[in-house]
Amino acid sequence: MATVAGCTPHGRSSRTQRPHLSKMERVIVSMQDPDQGVKMRSQRLLITAIPHAVAGETRGHPGGAGRRGLRPLRLSRAGRDVVEWLVQKFCISEEEALHLGTLLAQHGYIYPLHESRDLTLRPDETPYRFQTPYFWTSTLWPAAELDYAIYLAKKNIQKQGALVDYEKEHYTQLHKKINHAWDLVVMQAREQLRAAKQRRKGDRLVISCQEQTYWLVNRPPPGVPNILEQGPERGSYNSSRVQMIERFRKALGRNRVKSSVCLEAYLKFSSQHGPHDPILSGCLPSNPWITDDVTYWAMNAPKVAAPTKLRVERWSFSFRELLDDPVGRGHFMDFLQKEFSAENLSFWEACEELRFGGQAQVPALVDAVYQQFLAPGAARWVNIDSRTMEWTLEGMRQPHRYVLDAAQLHIYMLMKKDSYPRFLKSDIYKGLLEEAVIPLETKRRAFPFLRKPLHSSPSPVLQSTPEEPAVTSTPAGGNGKQ
């Protein structure tokens, strides 16, 4: 079947490979900008200090230092200046600039001319050069074993003892593995070395540094993270236009709320919950992670007898907060019992059990709920409107886990709009708020000798029924073990 190039029934777009690489490259390019880039230093370096250089050789070169063994390398930048440039460009701290610069080096985009095996950014006079785009990591050329073998062979031939331990190991392994092609490897290595000799010393030096950097990235030394590793391969995007159109149509029909209303809600939520956010506002008596004192956890255990003030306050934030807290829910149940509507909460709990329970239990649970709450004359009959009741009973002919959703929602709303506000105004709640504990702050240095040794608290696994020992706190706080 004839297809026009690229067209398929599905829209296909290729994955952007590693977006961070192109971003790094933009930074690198900016760094080299003649006006806005990192300032260049005219640096003179002893050639003998640079690897692979042969001491004493000076061919005639323009702009030479006029002294033996020195050659200006105008195209390098001092590490210190790179850091400074990053600080200015991105308005970040020196620590962050150093970190970012090191990442650039680790990814092979810049390399130091001294100790060139260590791809990190040093905030000093160390000269750095930019890697040639030919070797940029984003090309993602698979670094072939043959190429690596040739590179190592070159190093080995050029200078005895030039290979370090892990390189020697690789070399030996490769020698074994591609033994059959070893003559080729050596031949290539010799050829490349010979061709390199045609170049000027300075260029030869630079090229060998570039190559070394490339291999440091592609064959990192032990202990250095392999920046090329990405984890399991991810698929490429393949969308059905038809599905997309359907989704857009549906979305167009939605009701939306004004941004101002939605965003105000965040402000309200954040300000209400701010004091309850331990990371933001601290927690009393102290944050266990900071002081090693677990009193905070003991005082806020799921079923503690004396809840803290903050906790009791939270029950007034929303109906959900109340229900989510076993202590809160327990008190709410007590309240409902006084109002003779406890069956509502029990019904709601039974529905939750159905929704989140095991598949095998569904029919039995549905039946149990029916018998207890919905059947005419049921012991704990719940009052739902006739239409919902009809609907529910109809659905129960073929019970599934969502069959009680409508009824559950009705009862939930009833409790939320009616019982819950009354609970908050009730004496029960007011009393709880008054009695609630406010722990005193415990600073680490206040108990220098009473510091509890770190030991495991009982795991949930050991407890068949999750009952925490009741902790009675005096208003004075502390762990009572004075």
């Binding site: 079947m1 004839a2 067209c7 829209g11 994955r15 952007t16 977006p19 961070h20 930074v27 990053l86 991105f90 970040i92 970190h99 990442l103 984890g231 399991p232 991810r234 698929g235 490429s236 995007y237 236009r241 599905q243 159109i245 989704r247 857009f248 979305a251 939605r254 939306r256 709320v257 004004k258 941004s259 101002s260 939605c262 965003l263 965040y266 402000l267 954040s270 300000s271 209400q272 919950h273 701010g274 956010d277 331990p278 990371i279 933001l280 944050n287 992670w289 900071i290 905070y296 959900r320 929704r355 989140f356 095991g358 598949q359 095998a360 969502y402 770190l454 495991s456 795991s459 949930p460």
Partner: protein, 353 residues
Amino acid sequence: MATDGLHENETLASLKSEAESLKGKLEEERAKLHDVELHQVAERVEALGQFVMKTRRTLKGHGNKVLCMDWCKDKRRVVSSSQDGKVIVWDSFTTNKEHAVTMPCTWVMACAYAPSGCAIACGGLDNKCSVYPLTFDKNENMAAKKKSVAMHTNYLSACSFTNSDMQILTASGDGTCALWDVESGQLLQSFHGHGADVLCLDLAPSETGNTFVSGGCDKKAMVWDMRSGQCVQAFETHESDVNSVRYYPSGDAFASGSDDATCRLYDLRADREVAIYSKESIIFGASSVDFSLSGRLLFAGYNDYTINVWDVLKGSRVSILFGHENRVSTLRVSPDGTAFCSGSWDHTLRVWA
């Protein structure tokens, strides 16, 4: 044959233009109700003070990259999984290892603690999600009681128990999410719609509905109705893979972290993106995000080994945390908000407070 090709091209072209025009209309509609930016509204809010968070615990013991972690409801235990197949349960307060199991596969990218604290779930390149009951019986081999629950046709990227130990929600490289009955392994519902690998999911803290959000390699974040299997809302503003999604504590919004080096906040009622958390100096992808208890702070772990802390309302970065020596792959705030835990490719987990 030639005419078939032509006809197909017309249909394709018309589909493409229809999709584009609908997309444009949708953007217009969304824009109509966008009367103010979050940072403008947040001008009245007091700025956050000096922010100091340090590593309080370091969990060492994994022999390879840590890929995922989850907290137990008891606020101190955590489960973590790694590239070499090891899944470890720690009491992170004492740093003791309490359980360990070796999965028969590498790259265990997903793990979760059951609400009861009595089981864990995990999976990865085995394309499955398995549940292991936790036991302190020395004679029992944890692997013996393993239950294979979910079966996907590609790697498992995320898993989460719902409100009970009896249901698990999974996300997979096969482009789908699925809801499973743990006891029987039965598939209760599947969710199709992502055009590529699904990388993350989070259950909504909603009071009545069952919804969850997922993010994928198609750059989309999608909100699903657990009951019907339908996608109820979709957001596509990221420029690259969405690695992590997490609901704002009120349930009205969620945050996402992506390979495009940004985190974003999407409001469900406004049906749009309402904030971008980004900085020019942040170049590497965000792998994992989570909110502090009040939703004021967003913690995000990045592939550049750092953790950035964002002021959710003002949109500015509050702090940058150094410490990990390789990618931060996973990050979760503890259930009571006293700390957060980060896991990294440097083989360690750190608890920060």
